[in-house]
Amino acid sequence: MTTPPVRVGTPTTRILGWLTAVSLALTAVMALVVSPPDVNMQDSVRLLYLHVPTAWLAMYVSFGVTTLASVLYLWKRTRSRFWDLTAGASAEIGVLFLGLTLLIGSIWGRITWGVWWTWDARLTTTAVLFVLYLGYLAVRKVPATPEVAARRSAIVAVAAFLDVPIVHQSVEWWRTLHQDATILDERRLLDPQIHGSMAWTLLLGVVAFTLLYCWLLAHRFQLAALEDRFADRQLQVAIDERRAEAVTS
């Protein structure tokens, strides 16, 4: 299966890059300067402008793309190296963003609630998701012929995707059944009635990070495709060298 070329450095990706840079800069300005401190959280709310977009991106966009691409790879009619490379690239970006999400969320939690971590449904699911995709990346690194590795990775990705709702549901249940009376009523804090410039900043942040994701994905995919093509060329060289052994022996 030959990899279709995806080019970077084209006008499209350049424009994308500029849009990303501009929107990120705007978000920074809005988040740090323009929007007001929150009634409850004061300035720590500014962390949320980073936390929410990265969370949304990592959990829904990146891993969603990975799962979808893996399914498309496994389905015979749409099987193509393209989907395998996309799945891998997206997962890498996803793990990166998810790590950021957990880090910033943890800092925010420390400021707001005084704890670095809590075992509620959402956080636990996020942590498990992180480990699941670390495992996926580990499986991708195992050496094997490309088709075999691609199929194996795709199966692991689908399994990881199936596991997430199970984890979420079980922890959700655990928490409600236990009815931990907690001051950490994050539902109240995390979905505040945000309006005005705060809502716009959040929205802008989400848009900016989505653009960033697309830009990163295109470049990471290109890198992977080039590696692939290089390996194919190496293969031809290797075959020729091997055949040459017959002459010398």
Partner: protein, 222 residues
């Protein structure tokens, strides 16, 4: 498929009967874990009773990982996959057979550990039906999920670290559910436990199905 599964399960259990790895190594390891935890937790009887279910299932989980590793190590030291593929057996059948053999070994382990928990931690067993069903569902789920990831990790140099990394996040909800269900049974509130058992059965069904479908393709690796 079922004939192949029975054949493979029989073979795996016969290997275990002859080599006695589970009996000689895994069971003592599990019992030792129970004892060591008792020391670490300052052997306060109340504490031990409360943490008993969780500890029990964590121990079963880690012992299960050992059993699954072993299940693939026995498949010819040179290449775990070649022998199975050459045999001409159906992939789904191999999966069911291997998972069944692991499950049987785990059930035996759980029986021993239950005795250990009752004796060492002074836990009183109420509601045996809930406990038995919990154990069955968890064991099946654990064996099924473990076997699927076991074949992915089998034969690789990194298998001993890759298998836990892949399997523990998947098994975390099962661990949670089984500990909660046992807790409900032991504290005399079985009503709380039954929803967890239902979750465990769903979990087991999902992973058995997944294994039947995915094991064959995963086995086919050059």
């Amino acid at each position: 498929m079922w004939r192949d599964a029975a054949l493979v399960a029989g073979k795996d259990l016969r290997v275990e009967a002859r080599s006695r790895v589970a009996i000689n190594q895994v069971v003592p390891f599990a019992l030792l874990v129970l004892v060591v935890f008792a020391f670490a937790l300052d052997s306060d009887r109340d504490t031990l009773t409360r943490v008993g279910p969780g500890l029990f299932w964590v121990t079963v989980l880690f012992s299960g990982l050992l059993a699954i590793q072993r299940s693939f190590v026995i498949e010819a030291s040179d290449d775990a996959r070649d022998a199975l593929r050459l045999s001409g057996l159906d992939g789904a059948g191999i999966f069911l057979g291997k998972a069944l053999a692991v499950a049987v070994q785990l059930v035996a382990l759980e029986a021993v550990l239950t005795v250990g928990v009752v004796v060492l931690y002074n836990v009183r067993l109420h509601d045996p039906l809930l406990l038995v069903l919990t154990a069955l569902a968890t064991t099946v789920g654990l064996a099924a999920a473990g076997t699927v990831y076991g074949i992915i990790a089998a034969g690789l140099r990194v298998r001993d670290t890759l298998l836990p990394l892949l399997v523990l996040p998947v098994l975390a909800p099962a661990l949670l559910a089984s500990a909660r269900a046992c807790e409900a049974a032991l504290t005399g509130a079985p009503g709380d436990g039954w929803p967890w058992v239902r979750l465990l059965f769903v979990f087991a069904t999902i992973y058995v199905t997944f294994g039947v479908v995915a094991f064959g393709p995963l086995l086919e690796e050059a």
